[in-house]
């Protein structure tokens, strides 16, 4: 008996490892018509793990002090062995995480997987989306560059237009009237402790819900595309005759992760400054406002929307309504049909929404 088998046997007789593997891996059956879009969640888990590991390594040398933060990041990029690699992995990883998150949400939208009984799956995923956005926003300030400082000034200023409590919120976020050392302390604590813990918790909730409700079958390649659950009692959506998660779909997940990593390395080694404007390498100076401060690509549409309306409060309200609409979509769109081509209104609105988002982003970039 090989050493591996002996270890497995040792574990099996104590904790029933064989039963767990049978139930959660080889016996965990997925829809036979499952497609590549279902591996987005696995890519996201991989990227989140990458962010945690690279973030921990950055913490070894990063100094969360307004006088030393920029110097410490410069040292990480130039003097710490492989520091440049770790930081670039963290930066590119965060951007890629947002991109894959968009793909994941769009696939869920188009395949109607958010519909009952998966309202909570969608809601927990949406909270994860907001948490990831908050992570990127708080992480932006930490290098304490001109870009960080002024982007945070503009972002926190926006909160100030909320009636009655706006100014209190701004001071609460900044830890003072202006962005300064207390803001860095707050954003650092949020970025490295509060938000990652919240993301980990919500990932746990999301996966728990996935396991309890079962994976939704894609509405493609089958005769019945309507939701059959009537809401009379709890039901686990099993897929008898489906493909096992291990090894079949795990191999698909690994293939997708490898392709994603190829794109990741292409950016990292061939265009490493793609996410760094010039002001990202100039230390923060509260007395010198840069000419053009633009947010990251995924906030460009929000940035342009704010500029479109004569009043900032209207711009914020419109975005708030759009976010609330998306968050509550499973409770608004209650139709049973899941195939996108059989939902013309949904198709029109979603493609229109995507086009508007892309258009606003391009406009924001060139404005």
């Amino acid at each position: 008996m090989s050493i591996m088998r002996r270890i497995f046997r040792w574990l099996d007789v104590r904790i029933g490892a064989g039963e767990i593997i049978e139930k959660e891996l080889t016996g965990y059956l997925l829809p036979p018509n499952i497609n590549i879009w279902y591996s987005m969640g696995s890519i996201l888990l991989f990227l989140f793990a990458l962010q945690v590991v690279t973030g921990m390594l950055l913490l070894v040398y990063y100094v969360p002090d307004a006088d030393k933060a920029f110097t410490s990041v410069t040292a990480i990029m130039n003097r710490v062995p492989f520091g440049w690699l770790i930081r670039l992995c963290h930066v590119i990883g965060s951007n890629m995480m947002v991109l894959i998150l968009f793909f994941h949400m769009l696939s869920v939208l188009f395949m109607g997987s958010y519909k009952k009984p998966r309202e909570l799956n969608w809601l927990s995923g949406f909270i994860l989306f907001l948490l990831v956005m908050s992570l990127t926003l708080t992480g932006y300030l930490l290098p304490w560059s001109q870009l960080s400082f002024w982007a945070t000034t503009v972002t926190t200023n926006s909160v100030g237009v909320i009636p009655f409590v706006g100014q209190y919120l701004v001071e609460f976020l900044r830890g003072g009237v202006l962005v300064g050392p207390p803001t860095l302390g707050r954003f650092f604590a949020l970025h490295v402790a509060v938000l990652p813990a919240a993301v980990a918790l919500m990932v746990g909730v999301h996966l728990f819900l996935l396991k309890r409700v079962g994976i939704s079958a894609p509405p493609f390649g089958c005769a019945e595309t309507k939701n059959t659950w009537q809401g009379e009692s709890y039901r686990y959506e099993a897929h008898p005759g489906g493909i096992p998660f291990f090894p079949d779909y795990l191999l698909q997940d690994l293939t997708s992760i490898a392709v994603c990593m190829a794109c990741f390395f292409a950016l990292l080694f061939f265009d490493p400054s793609i996410f760094f404007p010039k002001d990202a390498f100039i230390p923060a100076d509260q007395f010198r406002t840069p000419e053009h401060i633009k947010p990251e690509w995924y906030f460009l549409a929000n940035y342009q929307t704010l500029k479109l309306f004569p009043s900032e409060i209207i711009g914020l309200a419109v975005q708030g309504v759009a976010i609330l609409f998306l968050a509550l979509l499973p409770f608004i769109d209650r139709g049973a049909e899941r195939h996108p081509l059989k939902r013309p209104l949904f198709l029109l609105l979603s493609i229109g929404g995507i086009m508007v988002w892309i258009g606003l982003s391009i406009w924001g970039h060139y404005s």
Binding site: L251, T255, T289
Partner: protein, 270 residues
């Protein structure tokens, strides 16, 4: 111009009132917020206001050097902004201008003092403002040496020779500056190279004030050697970038090969 105590009090009153009016206005330029010199003089007509508009387009403004950087005084206190007790110097007399500017531009002052411009006989010696103007001081370049400007006082022949001797180094400094900016834009720590280039450029600019063709020719060789050393360091950065790209290409090939193998392996389970 020396004002009588009465006129000075009146001037302070006008400036204070202007400041109070300005602070009540909602729109104040972000870069000059809190600087009472710019806030008050910026609204005044004629010769009292013109310097602010000229200064805004200057290299001093671009580098955050405000009025008090040269004229002294307290830019945070409107009532005492122009008080000699707060170090206010006012406008220097014509013959004091080189020393006035030379408080910061030390090397340039030394070169100027040894030059034919400073040792020229007669009352109207050319000084800093003659060529660079006073408030609209732009980034120094060889364009300042031109027939129109130099021809005001003497023939252009020697000035042309100086310009030609310096032209090569000027171009090289500009190119090296651009290369440094490119690497800086990628996150490379170029601060030491920037300091060396800054020192080299200062030395070069000081040299222009000597107005001695032979001395300039001799010194440009040394400045060129320093530029060679900076370019060598930049070349090392380029080589490192090349190595990273080779490693990156290998990493991409490895993960794509892994993806292909995994996809083929999965098919064996279909």
């Amino acid at each position: 111009m020396i004002l009588s105590p009465g006129k000075r009090t009146l001037e302070k009153l006008i400036l204070t009132c202007t400041f109070l009016f300005m602070t009540a206005c909602p729109v104040v330029a972000a870069d000059t917020a809190g600087n009472v010199c710019v806030q008050c003089h910026g609204t005044l007509p004629g010769r009292l206001g013109e310097p602010v508009a000229q200064w805004r387009g200057s290299i001093h403004a671009a580098n955050g050097i405000f009025c008090n950087g040269c004229h002294g005084g307290d830019p945070n206190d409107s009532a005492n902004a122009m008080s000699p007790a707060r170090g206010f110097l006012g406008v220097p007399k014509e013959n004091a201008i080189p020393a006035f500017c030379g408080r910061c531009h030390v090397g340039v002052l030394q070169s100027y003092q040894a030059s034919a411009h400073a040792t020229a006989q007669g009352k109207e010696k050319p000084h800093c403002v003659t060529c660079h103007s006073n408030h609209h001081v732009v980034k120094a370049s060889l364009d300042l040496i031109n027939e129109k400007s130099c021809g005001r006082c003497h023939s252009y022949d020697v000035a042309r020779q100086i310009k030609e001797a310096m032209a090569g180094v000027e171009t090289r400094i500009g190119m090296t500056e651009q290369r440094i900016a490119t690497f800086k834009g990628k996150g490379t720590d170029t601060s030491r190279l920037e300091q060396r280039l800054f020192a080299g450029r200062n030395r070069f600019h000081s040299l222009a004030h000597v107005v001695d063709v032979n001395l300039i020719t001799k010194n440009t060789a040394e400045i060129n050697a320093e530029l060679d050393a900076i370019d060598g360091a930049l070349e090392d950065f380029s080589k490192l970038e090349g190595k990273k790209k080779i490693i990156g290409a290998a990493a991409i090939v490895i993960v794509l090969a892994a993806a292909a193998l995994l996809a083929m392996y999965r098919r064996t389970y279909d």
